[in-house]
């Protein structure tokens, strides 16, 4: 058997697995009866439905010819990993280092994901964005976000 559409193959598989996982997971909760549906009733039905749809997509991916195999193409690992890392670092740093230190760090990290990297531009962005966010979120909207590192505040 040959995969005729890469994208459909993998998305079909994804739907199938997630649907089955939800259906299996919902068996932990009471299913109830049709007259008195329990907490497991709706997710179980949906899980089965998603698995079926995934199966259908998978079946089409294996039987229907598509143009050029519909390849997924190269995965942009660099931006993917760096952006995800930047978000995680932001989440870890904000409660400890406060807005003033976290934002430049996030800007610096995420800038590494781009095609071009200029220290001068990153510096400008960091200063502008940190000052702007402070003005907008803390002064303007009065959100309760830690501003300074806990060790100073």
């Amino acid at each position: 058997m040959k995969i005729k559409s890469q994208r459909d193959f993998w998305s079909g598989l994804m739907f199938l697995v997630i649907g089955a996982a939800f259906a299996w997971g919902s068996m932990e909760y009471s299913f109830g009866t049709s007259a008195r549906p329990g907490p497991g009733y709706f997710p179980f039905g949906l899980g089965i439905l998603l698995a079926l749809l995934g199966g259908l997509v998978l079946f089409k991916a294996l039987t229907l010819e598509s143009e050029g195999g519909d390849p997924i193409g190269a995965i942009a690992w660099r931006p993917l990993l760096i952006i995800v890392l930047a978000i995680l670092v932001f989440g870890l740093a904000l409660p400890r280092l406060g807005l003033i230190c976290t934002l430049p760090l996030t800007v610096l990290l995420s800038s590494l994901a781009g095609r071009e990297f200029h220290w001068r531009d990153v510096l400008i962005s960091s200063v502008l964005l940190t000052a702007g966010s402070w003005a907008l979120f803390i002064l303007g909207l009065k959100l309760t976000i830690p501003v300074w590192p806990i060790y100073f505040g």
Binding site: R7, D8, W10, S11, M14, F15, I18, G19, F22, S26, Y29, S34, A35, R36, P37, G38, P39, Y41, F42, P43, L46, G47, L50, L53, G54, V57, D70, A74, I75, A76, P79, L80, I83, A86, I87, L88, F90, G91, L92, L94, L99, T106, V107, S110, S111, A113, G114, R115, E116, H118, I124, S125, L129, S133, L136, F137, L141, L143, T144, I145
Partner: protein
């Protein structure tokens, strides 16, 4: 006259200094971000949600609505000037609008789009005001079974009119519905799919999904693509005011576009996108001997679709406001925002929060007026923004989205979840799965389950209740018909053809 009384109440609310300021703020922000390449209205609204956390419900929704049509308007500007439609509904605008810009008539194109949109916006506002009350009446007659069927219709409509594979789109809806199941069951209080993580028992925040998939996922996808070369017609925007001939050519198109858009906007899933495509097709058929052929810079090809998408954008508020059912992802975000503000969307909003309801409607008209003022004379500023390089933009988007998710609950758990959804969003992009239906499903999931279970309870477990109640049966039949029609070979090829132009 009830209509006049209601509108008077609306304008009273909307014309307070505070609400005017928020409407203005919203339209400016929306235009600003809509003009920046690579950010559509959904990402814009998701990114700016934190700005409403501290506001009251009425100014918050007024501002969000402003962001919505501002972003849409900004999207048309980029479509005309750099051939990059800011969002799918301005795709057809790019065809003739960009050609006009290349021939040095960018000013006329922008003016046609702006004035057409304004006219359509006025008509749309009146239509909402006129049709919302009777629809609300109807909605009160709805029982659980009808609500469930209506949501099925809404979700089916959303996929049928979306581009791409139908089965995958339906699967994305179901996936969204399932993600909505991560919560505490309302009826029994059982925590579901929470893996003993306390934060998950409240459910996944819709902001988390919206920002992860639409905000970050899009950034990663953009960065993964080779840099495109853009030609910006910055210096050539002169002679903003259209000529007499332009007016003569454009006004019938504006009328037709408005009519078409107002009708299509109400349909579930319809909204702005379908309206602009349909209007372009209609203009091509109807306009006799255009001075300039279509595809080469015909003003009709800009005025018609632009009026249609604005009218559609306005009337798509109708199902959201009267039934609490979002017909498109932007409205799904609005429903989410209402929930954050503690308002349960649905027919009761009109009676329980009349200031909010009518104030929002009146503010739409005011917002449209502001847009005209903002855009036509100040176009030079927006054009400058087009030239901001992406390497300055995306760190800013990252920062705003991060602060937004954190301030949602003042908790970094949401930030970590968003990181996960960023990766998921990129995976969807790579696999060709459209994320918009997922968001709709996610928003409607809990409502759908509640209504399904209540309907079954009332019918003593008899599933045929959905088909024996006439209203519910009608809605389900309509959904089935929609799927069948789309599957018909002749329509199927037409649909693919229509969305081809998008790519």
């Amino acid at each position: 006259m009830d209509l006049l009384n209601n509108l008077a109440l609306g304008f009273q609310t909307a014309l307070t200094l505070q609400n005017l300021a928020y409407a203005f703020f919203g339209t400016v922000l929306g235009t600003l971000i809509g003009v920046l390449p690579g950010l559509g209205p959904v990402a814009t609204i998701a990114m700016l949600l934190p700005s409403i956390y501290t506001l009251d419900a009425t100014p918050a929704l007024i501002m969000l609505a402003g962001i919505y049509y501002g972003a849409q308007y900004g999207g048309s500007t980029t479509a005309i000037l750099i051939n990059v439609p800011g969002e799918s509904s301005s795709v057809v605008t790019a065809i003739d609008g960009y050609q006009m810009a290349r021939r040095g008539r960018a000013g006329a194109a922008l003016a046609a789009a702006g004035l057409g949109s304004f006219f359509a916006g006025c008509v749309g506002t009146v239509i909402i005001a006129a049709f919302a009350p009777p629809l609300t009446e109807l909605a009160f007659k709805f029982g659980s079974a009808e609500y469930f069927s209506l949501m099925v219709l809404g979700l089916v409509g959303a996929v049928v009119l979306a581009s791409g594979s139908l089965v995958k789109a339906i699967a994305m809806i179901v996936l969204g519905l399932l993600l909505g199941q991560v919560n505490t069951d309302v009826i029994t209080g059982t925590a579901r799919f929470s893996f003993d993580i306390p934060e998950l028992t409240d459910g996944i925040g819709f902001v988390v999904i919206a920002m992860g998939v639409f905000g970050f996922g899009e950034i990663i996808a953009n960065l993964g693509q080779p840099e495109e070369h853009r030609e910006v017609f910055t210096k050539e925007v002169k002679g903003l005011w259209p000529t007499r001939e332009d007016f003569k050519d454009a006004w019938p198109s504006v009328l037709r576009g408005t009519a078409l858009g107002s009708i299509l906007g109400v349909l579930p899933g319809g909204g702005a996108l379908l309206a602009s495509f349909a209007s372009y097709t209609l203009e091509k058929k109807v306009a006799r001997n255009p001075r300039v052929p279509f595809g080469k810079g015909a003003i009709q090809g800009v005025a018609g679709p632009e009026s249609a998408n604005n009218a559609g954008a306005q009337t798509s508020f109708i199902p959201m406001l009267t039934l609490g059912i979002p017909p498109n992802p932007v409205m799904a975000l609005m429903v989410g925002a209402m929930t954050i503000k503690g308002i349960q969307p649905g027919p009761q909003v009109m009676t329980s929060n009349p200031e909010l309801f009518w104030g929002l409607i009146a503010s739409m008209w005011l917002g449209n007026l502001m847009l005209i003022v903002l855009n036509l004379p100040l176009i030079g500023i927006w054009i400058k923004l087009l030239t901001v390089p992406y390497r300055f933009l995306f760190p800013a988007i990252v920062v705003f989205c991060c602060v937004g998710t954190y301030s949602l609950n003042n908790n970094n758990f949401d930030v970590f979840m968003t990181a996960g959804f960023a990766a998921v969003g990129y995976a969807f992009y790579k696999l060709g799965c459209e994320p918009a239906p997922l968001l709709l499903g996610f928003i409607l999931g809990p409502m759908m389950e509640e209504n399904l279970r209540r309907a079954l309870l009332l019918a003593r477990g008899d599933w045929s209740t959905f088909l024996t109640r006439p209203l519910s049966a009608g809605l389900l039949i309509a959904s089935a018909l929609m799927i069948v029609v789309v599957m018909l070979p002749s329509i199927k090829s037409k649909r693919e053809e229509a969305f081809q132009e998008e790519g």
